[in-house]
């Protein structure tokens, strides 16, 4: 035996002892679905792009973002961010200010003129899209990236749909909107403005299109019957907001009543204030809690001096005199008349009671089903007529820009599969990353960064954007508040806390693996994982 002087016995390494045989359950690395991604109607991988933003790699972050949504600068301004309502960080301090980071990335892209990757080789197929709103443009973007030739017919004089004709400038500056639309068109998408489609089948035949995606939106303001002794000046909200864009500024007068409780009602009331109205009064038949408008928008409107009469209906109109009746809620929470009447003086009444879809282009399409004024589509966004797909406000859904953008993406994938003669099957979704799986200890307290807001006086006098963007350092701070729920961010905790050195570090970007020869299954790695990216799975014996 070849041992040093005085040493008579050789020693072996404990590596011969495979302690993995002790294990009754094994740690397994998983990727869970972060709640923000789960909540995003546009299907963004929010945690994924925040991961890049955290290291200051804004271009990579933007590229990851636009995999799913071509409108980050728009979306960061107008989306009602259901992601933030779902954010697990809210259980620690406050939700991550996701929309502000998204807007920052969108603005960075515009500032530096970042372009989309050019489409791959052409598929030889061509698709007609009717309507250049968020849904149509989103579909155009995704179809173009899939190699199809895309043509958009837009009935109006400008592209953008409700992003332009429904959302006022002070929430979405038009240069931002134009720039993001232009970037989509630069992919080779053909846009024909002032081109109304009266018969979709004829339009498809005429242009030799292989498939069509309809996204005409909902642009007809709903009416209601109000007894009028002598009719005053009554407008509908859609026309008012549309008029702001087409140059024919609506004459609203000094005192304006807006009837309705949705976001459009608030947009009109805030627009009226900016046009010089001294009084902008919203009349809504239900309570503040029941209002469909977004709470933050209501807050901003109230700051600007918009007034609201909750639980009121308009009973009668006599020129400039409006009789309103107080309502009360019954046991089911529905408003019921009380008989208490009051009169208000106003120059104009604007109806903001919701919108209907103009479905006349579908009159002669066989197989198509219409339900409650919207087009019925199957799970693949296809209408009853093969090859014609539809999305956005004209199908049953919550009517927001983000939902519309999501429809565009989803439809594009199904149109693409249909054109190739197959069916698109999405990848199975991961399990949701729950707040209970977060090990809060490892995250420092960091309250959310607040966007600067324009002061109320300047808001009342013009159409300047109300909310500012985050500066670079605050955006970075905000991105780093992300907990990375359910997705490994390579913090090395598992590698560090294993008492048996059974976690193998594979190097930057490559994550880790478990050496099951030695892992005893103590679960320390799973317990101390900050973001819940390790699951314990029982061993089968």
């Amino acid at each position: 035996m070849d041992t040093p002087y005085g040493i008579t016995l050789d020693t072996g390494s404990s590596l011969a002892n495979h302690t993995g045989t002790w294990r009754t359950s094994r740690p397994v690395y998983v990727d869970r679905l972060p709640p923000c991604n789960h909540a995003c109607p546009a299907g963004e991988d929010i945690q994924g792009w925040l991961y890049h933003a955290e290291s200051g790699a804004y271009r990579e972050a933007w590229q990851a973002l636009v995999q799913n949504n071509p409108f980050p600068a728009v979306m960061g301004r107008v989306c009602y961010h259901p992601c933030e309502s779902a954010c697990n960080r809210a259980t620690l301090d406050e939700a991550v200010n996701i929309h502000a980071v998204e807007r920052f990335l969108g603005d960075e892209a515009l500032k530096h003129h970042w372009k989309f990757d050019p489409p791959p080789e052409a598929s030889g197929k061509s698709v007609l899209i009717v309507g250049a709103g968020p849904s149509g443009l989103s579909a155009a973007y995704h179809l173009a990236r899939l190699g199809h030739r895309v043509t958009i017919y837009e009935a109006g004089p400008m592209a953008g749909g409700m992003m332009r004709f429904g959302i006022p400038k002070y929430r979405l500056p038009r240069d931002v909107l134009d720039a993001e639309i232009d970037r989509i068109l630069a992919l080779g998408v053909t846009l024909e403005l002032d081109r109304r489609v009266d018969d979709i089948l004829e339009a498809m035949r005429g242009g030799g299109f292989d498939a069509a995606f309809l996204a005409v939106g909902a642009h007809i303001g709903k009416r209601t019957e109000i007894p009028a002794v002598s009719a005053g000046r009554i407008l509908d909200a859609v026309s008012v907001l549309r008029g702001m864009e087409t140059g024919e500024r609506p004459q609203l007068g000094r005192r304006v009543i807006v009837y309705g409780g949705g976001n459009t009602a608030l947009d009109v009331a805030r627009t009226a204030k900016r046009l010089g109205a001294s009084e902008a009064l919203i009349v809504y038949r239900r309570t503040r809690e029941q209002m469909p408008a977004h709470a933050a928008e209501l807050e901003e409107a109230l700051e600007e001096g918009v007034m609201v009469r909750w639980l009121n209906t308009i009973k009668r109109i006599d020129d400039t005199t409006f009789t309103v009746e107080r309502m009360t809620l019954d046991a089911e929470g529905r408003p019921q008349p009380t008989g208490e009447l009051e009169t208000i003086e106003a120059d104009t009444l604007v109806l903001a009671l919701g919108q209907d879809v103009d479905l006349s282009l579908l009159d002669h399409v066989p197989g198509l089903a219409v339900d409650k004024g919207v087009v019925r589509v199957d799970g693949n966004m296809m209408t009853g007529h093969a090859g014609i797909f539809a999305g956005g406000d004209m199908v049953p859904c919550e009517r927001t820009v983000t939902v519309a953008v999501g429809h565009g993406k989803k439809a594009a994938r199904h149109v693409d599969a249909w054109l190739r003669g197959s069916v698109y099957t999405p990848l199975p979704k991961h399990d949701l990353a729950a707040a209970a799986q977060i090990n809060a200890w490892y995250y420092a307290d960091a309250p959310k960064s607040v966007q600067p807001a324009l002061d109320a006086l300047r808001r009342q006098s013009g159409f300047e954007e109300v909310l500012g963007g985050l500066a670079e350092d605050t955006a970075l701070f905000e991105a780093r508040r992300c907990l990375s729920c359910g997705n490994c961010f390579e913090c090395d905790n598992c590698y560090g806390v294993c008492p048996d050195n059974a976690v193998v570090k594979l190097g930057p970007g490559k994550r880790f693996e478990i050496n099951y020869d030695y892992c005893k299954g103590c679960a320390l790695c799973a317990e101390e994982c900050p973001c819940g990216a390790i699951a314990m799975v029982p061993e089968t014996i």
């Binding site: 390494s13 590596l15 002892n17 302690t19 990375s484 590698y495 560090g496 008492p499 048996d500 317990e527």
Partner: protein, 329 residues
Amino acid sequence: MKLQPVKFYQKQTFTVGNRLVAGHARAVQANMRRTNSLNSGHRACQGCGEALGARYAIDAAMQATGNRVIAVNATGCLEVFSTPYPETSWQIPWIHSLFGNAAAVASGVAAALRVKGRKGDRVIAQGGDGGTMDIGFGCLSGMFERNDDVLYICYDNEAYMNTGVQRSSATPAAAHTATTPAARGRSGNVFGTGKNLPLIAMAHEIPYVATASIANLRDLEVKVMYAMSLRGARYIHISVPCPLGWGSLPADTIKLARLAVESGLFPLFEAENGEITGRYQLRHRVPVTEYLKLQKRYAHLFGDTPDLRTIGEIQAIADRNIRRFGLAA
């Protein structure tokens, strides 16, 4: 404190590594090429805090000395589970003699190295709370008062776990052990017994004394590395929860170490030449019940009628520590 807190509020501040900070600001344990001084295949229980603490400490010492560490081990869990002949998990020169003489053997090794002029080779003695505080106490005190050039590390799991969980002088009040049962009207270990070895070490006015926890890895590493930068007798006392002896889940080992610190029961501080020079201020102070209720050795305090008086007395110990060591933020 030698540890410069990284101003990094958002995330990963408290984790082992962090892709967003420079390499030198990351823990030794985050390094792909850490020495793994205590290798895989050792026979420690699932979720052993001592195995973890030993690797943390010795890897940090290896890093600080350019891999020139010789370890002397007292008898105890660490010795038994790491080195059952003919196997060893140690990837460093390592010697075991008796239960009570680790400090004396280490003094001898240090003397031999001095005689041979091997200045770069450094000696660490290590043992559990039994081998350190009870059986090896005389040798340890001698090593301190002679100011021998040895870092002594005590891995404190608060009882003789290897032999079947018997009480040691580190066993906390009210804890159930085989020799202080919580049964037949007795309520675990007696209040007012035991000793505080870090304070006794400080009374020797040796160059460096520190306490550390496996729940605060960077703090532990920085303390070990600082200790290795000094000469003379040094002492580090590390809290290492024991799933077997404490009756806790293996997965809760680090959580328990953290709760021991954040409740005030295990204060983290450091001292030079007998004077306290640094203290860890509690980040999320918790009541002691958070810590106690995860352990079966305190199960008799809970149940249908919680022993509020005893829990209150343990809370008073924690509160006194917080006041005495200035732990409140």
